[in-house]
Structures are given as C-alpha cells and as structure tokens.
Amino acid sequence: MKRRQFLHTAGAAALATALPAPMLRAANAPEDFHIAAILAFSGAYGLIGKDMRLGAELAAAQRGGKVLGKTIRFSWEDDETKPQPAVQKATRLLSGGANMIFGAVGSASTLALQSLATQRKIPQLVTISADDVITKPGGSRYSFRTSNTLGMEVKMCMEFVKLSGLKRIYAVTADYQATRDGFEQFRTMAEAAGVEIVGNDYAPLGNRDYSVIIDKMANSDADGIIVVATGNDGVTFVKQAGQVGLGKDRTIFGPVLQDETFAAATGDAALGVYSGVRYHFSTDNPANKAFVEAYRAANNVYPSSFAGEAYDGLSWWFDVIESTDSWDVETWVDAFEDSVRENSIEGRKEMRACDHQATQVGLFGKVVRGEAPLPPLTMQITSVFPPEALFAAC
Amino acid sequence: MTGGLLRCENIHVAYGAFKALSGITHEFRPGHVYGLIGPNGAGKTTLMNALSGHVPVAQGRAFLDDRDVTGLSIHARTRAGLGRSFQITKIFAGMTVLENLEIAAFAHRYRVQPFWLPAGRFLKVREAAERVLEQVGLTRLAHRPAEYLSHGDQRALEVGLTLLGEPRVLLLDEPLAGVGNEQLERAIGLIQRIVTGRTVLLIEHNMDVVMRISHEILVMVQGQILATGSPEQVRNNPAVRSAYLGEEP
C-alpha cells in the first residue's frame, strides 16, 4: 500500500507541476514569414487539407521558400472541421506572431476565422470554402478568396443548361442555407430562361439515402437532374442514382458535384456526370503546365482542385506582398485589393476591391474514363465560361 | 404531537394478475404497537408499501387522522406525518452517521432546501440530529461513514432517520432483523420508548419479541388479515395455529 500511496502522491505532484508548464513554452520570436494554416486533417475533409498542404508547400518551394527575404514557415493545424478548434489554434499562432491565416476548409470554420482575422487585423486567404457570404460587399477587410463561389458555380450550371438544351429540371438540394440560396438563384434564372423546374427535394445535410428521391426523379419527365449538394452528399446521390441507371436518359449535373477526388469515391456511376470544376490540371497555359509538372514530380499524382486552388491563391498572394516590399499588413491588403493576375494557372484572375472575391473563368466538365497516367475516372473540361457571365457587379 | 390515527379501508393491491392484498380494513390507534406477522408473501411489506406510497393502491382508501392520503406521493405522505423504515437497509452511503441524520432533519424542517448557507451553519438542525443520535445510541459513531457501520447499528440509524421526520405513524419493516443478541434489548427498548404518542406498525419475525412489545397482533395470510387481537388471544387462536404450524415451511 505504501508504494501505491507514494505513486499516487507522485502522480499528483507531477500533475501539479506539469499543468502550467506547457503554457510557459517560450515563443521564439519569429524571424520568418509565419503562416497559420488551419485546415482539416482528419475526418471526412481530411484529404482536402492534405491536398491543400501539398499545393501550398509547392507554392512556397517554387520561390525558394522565401518571401520578402524571409523564410516561409507554415504551421499546419487540424481544426477537425469545427469552428472552436479552428479559432483556438489560430489564436495561439497569432499570439506567436503569425503573419497571416490560410484556411479553413469548412465554411463554418472559415467564417469563424474571418471574425478573428477582422478582429486581429491579420490577412486571411481562402482557397476552398465556397459559401457566398464569405466574400460579400462591405465584408471583412482582411479576408480574400481566390477560389470559386457557389454562386458562380450555380450560374455555370444555368449556362450549361442553356448550352445543352435541357428543358425540364428536377433538383435535389442539401438543406443548408448556402445550397438553398444556390437553388433559389438557379430557379430564378431557370424561370427567366424558360426552363421548367419539375421538382425539388431538400434532403437533410449528410443524408445517406436518396432512393426515394431518385425514384421520384425516375418517374418524372425531367431531362436534367441538378444536384445542389457538395462532398459526401453529392457522391452518395450519384452512386445511388447509378444503381437505377438514372443518368442513362437524364443529364445529371451540379455546381460542385464531381472532380477526380469525388469520382474516385463514386466509382463508375460517376461516368457522364457534369459538374463545375474549380481548377483542372488539363488547363492549357504555361503557368499550369509548369505547376502540374512540378507537382507530379514531387507527389507522383495529378494535382486535385484543392491542391491547385491552394497553390494558385498562395502564389498570387506571395507575389503581391513581395511587390509591396513592406511588412505592413495594411499595405498588403491595399495591394491585394486591386491586384490582377494575368498568369494564374487558371488563366486571368482579378481581385475585386468591393468584396475581396477574385473573378475568374469557370470550368465545367464531365466525368470520363482516363488512360494512365490519368486517374481511372477523370474530368474532361467541356466548357469554359467567361467571368462576365458568372459574376454580377457588386 | 397529537393524533396519529391510521385507518385502512378495504385496501387492494395487485401486481398484474396476482392479488397481493385483498381488502385490508383496520384501525391503528396512537400509543400502540401493532405487530404484523404471517408467512413470507402474506403481504406484510406490501401493506406498508401501500401505506407509504411505494405501490399504487388498486382499490380502497387510507386515512391519517381523517385526511385521505391514498393519492399522495411518497414525500407528501411523509410530510403528512407518516414515517417508514425499510426491510433492506436504506441509508446514505458515502456520508457520516451525523450527516445522514442531518439530511433527515433538513427534509423535515424545510420545504425548499436552503442553498444560501453551508449546511454546517444550521445549528438547530445539528442539535436535532444529535438528539436523535443519542436516542438511537450512535453518538460514539457520529463521524463514521454510514456504510461502515455494523448491521445492527445501521438498523438503528434507519429508525433514527425515520424519527427525525417526527412522524405520528411509524411503519417499521423488520427493524430488528440481523441485530445481534447483545444489541437486541437496546433496540427493543428504543421501540418501546418511541411509541409514546405515536402509532407503530411493526413487521418482525422473532415471535418472542413481537409478542413482547406489541399491543395488538395482526396475522396476515395471502393478502388478507386472518386474525387480530392481543398477543395472548392470537397465540391461542386455532386458525392462526393451523396457518402457522401447518403451513409455515
């Protein structure tokens, strides 16, 4: 018993001394360009964070790992796709002198980080979250998005409907504010264009069974099916639709329904499905060719849209702050506000001062079989829509 | 302390199809100890449960000083003046003997439990608890955790908890079970003392003890009262003799 008592006492004492100790960890005053990269590295979105990291690290490596003469240092943090850890970890890094926030993946985390960035007057770069409210006129001065918005992707869907001559659309929409807004936007545009919406079902977010909805679609006279749902929900829908061959005589499409990553999760059912594409490695321009080559050399795979968008956004951002030759945050923000990137890997991008959203072309494509070294299911870009068609003036 | 007249009118209790009590009618008067005897399963504990509110009554009424208590909840019956101890010891483990008694005292004194002062500041409650502590002879064990008490002492604590509610009617379910011989006399003395001004119903298997301390005996068999009377009368009742000697396993 004595030994046990001793162990208990020792344990208690160790605890007493250990508790405050980690908090006293010295913060090494950073003599570098420190990026608080708050992404998802676990759970369903973990692969997005992983790919973004590869793209971002390449963007840094390609400029010798330095910006403004200082080493670029990333702190990669997993937010578990939840706002509280995102803010907590970002706060720690900002207290340690981080120069900017990169992230997050989920829109809720991104919005939470946006509040923090505004409060701390620290720039935030978003290259994935597509929720329209992230960049709105009169929004945060310190947040920028270089990637697509859901709104522009919905517009692409409408352009696609017109191009392919679809007349009657059945919709399935994730029951979530951003996607509901997306569907409403689509409905308004469709009505204006004389396209009939023959049905719409709001499926719960994270829905795992679409069979009843698919049955309703199959029994309708719709010639097109729009899926206003992202990630898992979209994949699940397409997979289950494939089991009744819904796509045989109807065109399935959606704003962010498929890319190589999601197609790999869907399987052959994805073949022939159309989707908006945020970035694609097949885009034919010198900047992209160089990026794809470097990325493949480093990682032995084609870059996903997550990797491409992360690379593109960060490269642009680095170039802009390099050009200011200043360590003043306000100078960076002012410079980025009117920045135009002629040679982005996705073509020309232009940052709008009014809402901090980069205007850009929109890619639309369909899933086809790929020959090695392409992935077995790959996107074939079928349309490229100009920015004028996708962005309303703000 | 006045009153304490308990009246049962035709009480029935059923567990599904099984009739645990069928038609119990009796009047229990203050100052008397009533011994409930009968074979296992006769319905003695069920009668106590019906009176204290632990099992629902299918039919019939119970009155405490002419107040109908049949529909009341357990705690409301306690407040109406009905105290109860249990066959299986129910004390508050993890607390000392004194704390146990204080909890009982607080329950009796406050409808809304005070939350603005530490419990130790209520001196009147402490005094009340200490009085009962002495009454049940546990003073020397006051600060012992209740679960470490001997069986006999735990039975005494049970009775003490019940006493702090200042009940007019006391239902004691085998308060002497498992009490060693050396403590038995003390326990009997306790029961004989507390009956003053109260009505006591007692379930006890030790026939010598029941016969000694009861003023009236109720013999229960199969959910009914087979016979009542003074210990002497009951002892000589032929029906009881046959029920007991013939059927007792």
Binding site: A218, N219, V235, T236, V244, G267, D268 | -
Partner: protein
C-alpha cells in the same frame, strides 16, 4: 408500391446498422459508442478485400470476422475490467476506442475516399410496380431479413441463446451453473462487433467510404434501439420497420422534415412508452 419496397430496404439497412448495438446493450448492458467506428472499419475492410480479390461477397464474409476478432480483443483487454462499475465507465471506454479505431483507419487507409462498386450480380435495376428498383436494394431486404431471422433463432431458440440470456440475466447464478460467463461476454461483444461490420460491408456499395462515416450513423442506431426497447432484438426489427417506412413516406411527401419525423417518433416513444414501443416485460431478446 415502389415506396413499400424502398421503405423495406431502408428498414432492413437500419436494422443491420443497429443490430449489433442492440445485442451488446441487451446482453451486456454496455452502450457501445464505438459501434459507429466498428461499422466504418467493416466498410474499409470490405473495400480492402474487394480491391484484393475483386469479390464483394468475400468482403462481406471477411469484414465481420476481422472486426469480431477486434471486438473480442477490446472486450478482453479493456471492457472486462469495468463490468463491476457504473455504466458510465463502459461508455467512456468505448468513447476512447472511437478515437483509437479512427486513428488506425486513417493510418492504414489514408485520408482518401474509397468506394466499393455494386456487386455485379445486383448491378442492374429491376422493374417492379412500374418503378425501376435497384436490385441491390432487394438484396439488402433479403439479407437483412435473413440476418434478423438468424439472430432471432440464435438468441431465442438455440441452446447458445439460453446460455447468453442466463449469463446476462444473472451472471452469478450462471457462473454457479457452470457457464463461463466471461467467455460468453467476450463472444457476445465479438458478435455485436461483427454485426456492426456486416452493417458497414452491406452499406459499402451505397455510400462513399470515408473517415466520418461512423460518426454519422450512431444517432440513427440509438434511435432504433430506444424505440425498439433497449436491447430487444425483435423490438429493433419492428422499430427499424417503423422508422424505415416513416422515412420512405417522409422522403416522398416532405423530404426536408425527414429528420424531424424520426425525432418526433423517438420523443413520442420515450414520453409514452419509455421502455420502448415494442418492449416485452422480462424479455431481453
């Protein structure tokens, strides 16, 4: 009519997901929060086998076996030590296992999404009552019915079932009768884990396989178990049918209310029949 078929398939899928949870709860009194994680593991193992052998059916066989072994290991190394404590400690242990299993899955299979194609035998839809029904759904109905029947026979009719029920009703008494209670418990936990993996393997061709999938089903499983009556296999079957049919109707007429319909059923049950809609007093299987 097609709604009935789809409703049935929803029901049996739900039952396959929840059966293991019900079993472990009913027989061991343990709320296994790691049930979702074991389900996910079943799907991943099925994927692995399909990738290696090309056969879904081998996957459906292997996944439960592997996960049952893992379940036995969990029971023997950890759970067994806390049976004599409050339920909360068992619950906490299984909570810890969620994290460990999730991490293992991530280490072994990485972050990428995986997929299992619909088995060729059931890849083509069939026309029933004027609707195209995925034949895999019909398989789910048949398979679910078979598993529920097997479980019923095993627990209610077989000698083994009597032993399990004796051990769960009164461990001391069972021990005295010569039943090795601790082995029975290990076996029950392994069986429950295996059932979770069957759920995962059967679901694999229907959804993307990813690291969050375990988390998403656990509430559904709880709902089935509560409505069915805690630990009651027959109740779980009926509850699955009730929820499955209600959901099928919900998807048909009011899709966006489907989740709330389920909760309404649940809360109604708990309010008016807290022991479960289909509980039979004194029966655990």
């Amino acid at each position: 009519m097609s709604i009935l078929i789809i409703g049935l398939s929803l029901s049996f899928l739900l039952f396959l997901l929840a059966a293991g949870l019900t079993l472990i709860f009913g027989m061991l009194g343990v709320i296994n929060f790691a049930h979702g994680a074991l389900y996910m593991l079943g799907a991943y193992i099925c994927y692995q086998v399909v990738t290696m052998t090309g056969s879904f059916w081998i996957g459906l066989l292997v996944a439960p076996l592997v996960v049952a072994l893992l379940g036995a290991l969990m029971e023997m190394t950890a759970l067994r030590r806390v049976y004599d404590r409050d339920h909360i400690y068992q619950l906490l242990l299984t909570f810890g296992f969620i994290l460990v299993i999730d991490e293992l899955t991530k280490v072994i299979w990485g972050l990428d999404y995986k997929q299992v194609p619909t088995p060729a035998l059931f890849a083509q839809p069939v026309e029933l009552f004027g609707s195209m029904i995925p034949s895999y759904r019909l398989f789910v109905i048949g398979f679910g019915a078979a598993v529920s029947l097997a479980l019923f026979l095993l627990l209610d009719r077989s000698k083994w079932g009597i032993v399990i029920r004796a051990a769960s009703a009164d461990a001391d008494m069972a021990q005295a009768l010569g039943i090795d209670v601790s082995r029975v418990r290990t076996a029950v936990f392994a069986l429950g884990a295996g059932l979770a993996a069957i759920g995962g393997a059967v679901t694999a061709p229907l959804v993307p396989i990813e690291l969050g999938m375990g988390f998403s089903i656990i509430i559904d499983c709880f709902i089935v178990v509560i409505i069915g009556g805690l630990g009651n296999i027959r109740g779980a079957i009926l509850a699955s049918l009730l929820i499955g049919m209600a959901r099928a109707a919900g998807y048909t007429y009011a899709t966006e209310w489907v989740e709330l319909i389920t909760f309404a059923l649940l809360i109604g049950t708990l309010m008016f029949r807290p022991a479960g809609l289909f509980s039979v007093k004194g029966r655990t299987a």
